[in-house]
Amino acid sequence: MATRWFGAPVKRNEDPRLLTGQGLFVDDVQLPGMLHAAVLRSPHAHARVLRVDVRRAAEHPDVVLVLTHRDLPPGLREPLPKLIPHPDLKHHKTQYALASDKVRHVGEPVAFVVATSRYAAEDALDLIEVDYEPLPAVVDLEEAAAGRPALVHEDIGTNVAAHSVQRVGDYEAARARADLVLARRFVVDRGCASPIETRGVVASWDARTRQLTVWDSTQAPIPIRNGLASLFGLAQKDVRVIAPDVGGGFGPKIMMFYPEEVLVPLAAIRLGRPVKWIEDRREHFLATNHERTQIHDAELALDREGHILGVRTVFLHDAGAYIPYGLIVPIVAECTLPGPYRIPNYHAEFRAVFTNKTIVSPYRGAGRPHGVFVMERLLDLAARELSLDRAEIRRRNFIQPDEFPYHVGLLYQDNAPLVYDSGNYPAALERALEAVGYDRWPEEKARYRSEGRRVGLGFACYVEGSGIGPYEGCRVTVEPSGKVYVATGVGTQGQGHYTSLAQVVADALGVDVRNVHVVTGDTEAFGWGTGTFASRAAVVAGSAAHLAAQAVRQKALQVAASLLEASPEDLELSEDQVRVRGAPARAVSLAEVARAANPLRGVIPAEWEGPGLEATRYFAPPRGTFSHGVHAALVEVDPETATIRFLKYVVVHDCGVVLNPLILDGQIHGGVAQGIGGSFFERLVYDPQGQLLSGSFLDFQIPTAMEIPEIEVHHQETPSPLNPLGAKGAGEGGVIPVPAVLAQALEDALDDLDLEITQMPLHPDALFGLIQNAPRRRS
C-alpha cells in the first residue's frame, strides 16, 4: 500500500476549527430553557456535618432546586462506584455525591443548587447554613499512616487503605553480598494538571423519548454512559454522553464519577429542563483530583564496579480522602522504578493512605516520575560514591537490545506481567549525550564557571508503560460521496486524534487525509470503548482503525473487481480511485464503489458480508507496550536568588513507529513544559488544618514561555511487536524524567557544595534553603 500519510508531519485536521473559535467545549453548549448549577463545598478538611439548612436558599426567587444528601434517590445516597478494584485494596472507600454525615476534604460537595442563572445559584449558596463540628485534620502522610491525629474513615479503624508487596529475587541476600548499599529518603509532593478547560457537565432529559443526553468534559464518555445508565435505571441506548472538544485532561478527567457528573443529570431528569454546571478555577483546585505525594525509603545495593545487585523501595502513597481509582498510581510507580536497568533483586512495598486532602488519581506521568526520580537519583549518588562516570554506571546496567522481550518480574497496572516488548536503551543514551555535548562538558562547565556562571548538565533515562488494553474499537465507512467517516469510542483530550487516526485510514484507502472525518467522544457514534488514558489512544484505537480500514479496503477491492471485471489482486487504491494496476484508464472512483456496494435492487454476494463500504473492528492488545527515552538538559542556577534557567533541553524519545512527528513533537513539548512546571514552579501547599494555601494561580505558578526553553526532539524508532502499527504511547514521556534531570543538573551546577536533592517539586525558596544549608564540599 502507498504510505503517503502515515508517518508524515501532517498538519492537524482539527486546528482550523479550534484556532478560529469553532470548537465545541462543554461551556459552548447552550440549550433553550437551560438552568445553571452551583455547588456548596466544605470549607473544612475534616468535620462532622451536624445540620444543613437550605430553607432560605430554596426560597430564593430564582432557585428551582436545592439538593442535599437526604434529597438524593436511594441509589445515589450510597458511595459512588468503585472504579478499579485490587486484591490488596482492603478498604475501597469512595465519595458520596453529596456529603452525608462527614466531610473529608476541603471542597467536598455538601449541597447542590439549581437556579435560572449561575449568578443566582452562587448567591443562593450563601443562604445555606451548615453546622460543622471540626475534627482534627489528617494532613501529614506519615502521621496519617500511624492513624494520627484522627481516622479519615472511622469504620475501618485505620487510615491505611492498602498494603502491597511485590518481590523479584531476594533483595536481602543481594544486599548481604553488596560492596555498597545506599539508603535515602525521597519525597515527591502534590501537583495538579491545570488544564485550560476546567470540568463541566450539561445534561438534558427528553421526557417523551425518556432519553438522557449529557455533555461532559471527560476522557471516558462510554464508561460514563454505562455508569449513568446503571445509576438511573436506563438502557445504555437511551443515554448519550458526548465529550465534545476537551480542553486538556491529563488524567484527572477520567474519574467516573465526580459528584457533579451524577448531580447534573439527576437535576435535569427531576426538573425536565437542561442543567449546566461549569467548574470555576477555585473549585478546580479543590475538587478535581490531584496526584504525586509519595515518600520513598529506598535502597540500592551494588558491587564495586557499579553493577546493580538489588533495589528496595518502601513507600507511602497519599490517596487523599477517598480512593475511587484504586492502586494504579503506586503500582505504576513501583513498576516504572526499574526503568531500563537489569535489576535482579527488587523489593517494592507500599501503603496507600487516606488523608483529609483532595482525592488522588493519575495525572500525566501517574507514578512514573516518582519511580524514575528514585532510581535515577540512587544511580547518581552511587556514581559519586564509586567515583564512576554517571553515564558509565548506566551503561553497565542497561538491558541490551537483544534481551527483548524482557520480563521484569512484576505485575503491571493491567494485572498482566510487566514485559518490555522492545527498545534500544543504550542507543538512546548515546544519542542524548551527543546532542547535549556530554563529552566536552568539563571544558564547557569550566568556561561558564570562569564567567562566574553556574551551569549544570543533567540527564535521566526512563521506560514508559503505555498502550494497555483492554480494547478499543473503530468503524470505518466510505459514504456514497466518497468521503470517509471514522468513528471510535476512545475519546480525545486534544491529542490530535482527528488527524492521526485519519492518517491510518487514509493510507489504507488511498484517499486524502483531509477527506477522512473522525468522530470520537460521542457514545451515539460509537458505543464501545474505555477511554483516553495511559498513553493508549493512538496505539489501541489506532490499531483498531487500521484493522477496520484494511477490512474496508478488502471490500472495496472486491466490489470494484466486479465493476471492473478484474481480479481483486490486480487492483490498487490511490487518489480516491480503485485502478487496475498497469492499466490506469481502467478505474472507478471510491464513491462509485461505495454506491455499488449498496444497490437498490439485485444481489449482494455472500463474500461482501453485508452492504456498504463499512467495517467495524476491535483491537485488544495482549499487554502494554513500553516506550523509552532519555532527556538531557543544561540548567543555569543563580545561587543568590535560587532561580533557574534551562539553557538547552534535549529529548531522545522512542515510541516505536511514529504516526505523525508533528503531533509527537507537540506531545513532548507540552509534556516537558508540564514537567518543568511540576518540578520547580507549581506546588500545592496544605496548612496543618488541611487548607490548601496555594489554590489559585497567584500561588500555584504555572510556567510561561519565559521559563520553557527550546526543546530539541530526536525520534528513535524501535517498533512494537504487539500491534499492527508497531506504535507505542507517547503521552507522558515528556513529563516523566524532568524531576530527575533537574536534580542532577542542579547538583552538577552546585558541585562545590555537598548538596543532595531528594525532594520534588523544588521551588526557589526550597532550593535557596538547600544551598544555604549545604556544607562546602571538601576537595
Binding site: 470549607p43 449558596l125 450563601d126 471540626p134 477555585r282 496548612d687 494555601l693 489554590g695 489559585s696 497567584l698
Partner: protein, 147 residues
C-alpha cells in the same frame, strides 16, 4: 498562623482593664463590628463585616472570654463563618503596668478556611493593621475619658 504585636496605651492599667470589660467600648473599637450581643457570661454573638485580602464578607460568630486575670491577662476565643469561609482564632492580651501608661502585648493564633485561604499569606499583615486600629481607638477613648 501565629501573629503578635506590642502597643502602648496612654492610661494607667486599671483604667485600661475597665475599658476592656466594657462590651460597648469593645464593639465600637473593633473594625467592622456591626453587632455584639451578650448571650451568656463572658460569651457574645457577633456580626462582623471585614475584607480580608481580596475577599470581603460578613461573618457571624461567637466570641468567648476564656480567661481573665484582672488587671493582667485576658484571653478570648473567636469563631466566625461567612459565605467566603471561616475564621477560628484564640487571642491573648497581657497588660503591663508602666505607671501612667500601659504596655499591651497581644498574640493570636488564627486559622482560616474556605475562599479566605487564597489570601492567607496576607492575613498577618491585615491582622496587625486591624489590631493597630483597635488599640488606637481604645487609646482615643482613654484619652477622651481623662480629658
Amino acid at each position: 498562623m501565629r501573629i503578635e504585636g506590642n502597643e502602648t496605651l496612654h492610661a494607667p492599667r486599671e483604667r485600661v482593664w475597665a475599658l476592656l470589660e466594657d462590651p460597648q467600648a469593645l464593639a465600637s473599637c473593633t473594625p467592622g463590628m456591626q453587632e455584639l450581643k451578650p448571650v451568656g457570661p463572658d460569651e457574645f454573638e457577633a456580626v462582623l463585616s471585614l475584607g480580608i485580602a481580596a475577599v470581603r464578607g460578613t461573618y457571624k460568630g461567637k466570641l468567648r472570654i476564656t480567661e481573665r486575670t484582672p488587671p493582667e491577662r485576658y484571653a478570648v476565643q473567636v469563631e466566625g463563618s461567612s459565605a467566603v469561609g471561616f475564621v477560628r482564632a484564640t487571642g491573648l492580651l497581657e497588660l503591663e503596668d508602666r505607671g501612667p501608661e500601659t504596655g499591651v502585648r497581644w498574640s493570636g493564633d488564627v486559622q482560616v478556611g474556605g475562599a479566605l485561604t487564597i489570601g492567607s499569606r496576607m492575613i498577618p499583615g491585615i491582622a496587625r493593621m486591624l489590631a493597630g486600629q483597635f488599640f488606637q481607638c481604645l487609646d482615643r477613648k482613654l484619652q477622651e475619658g481623662s480629658a
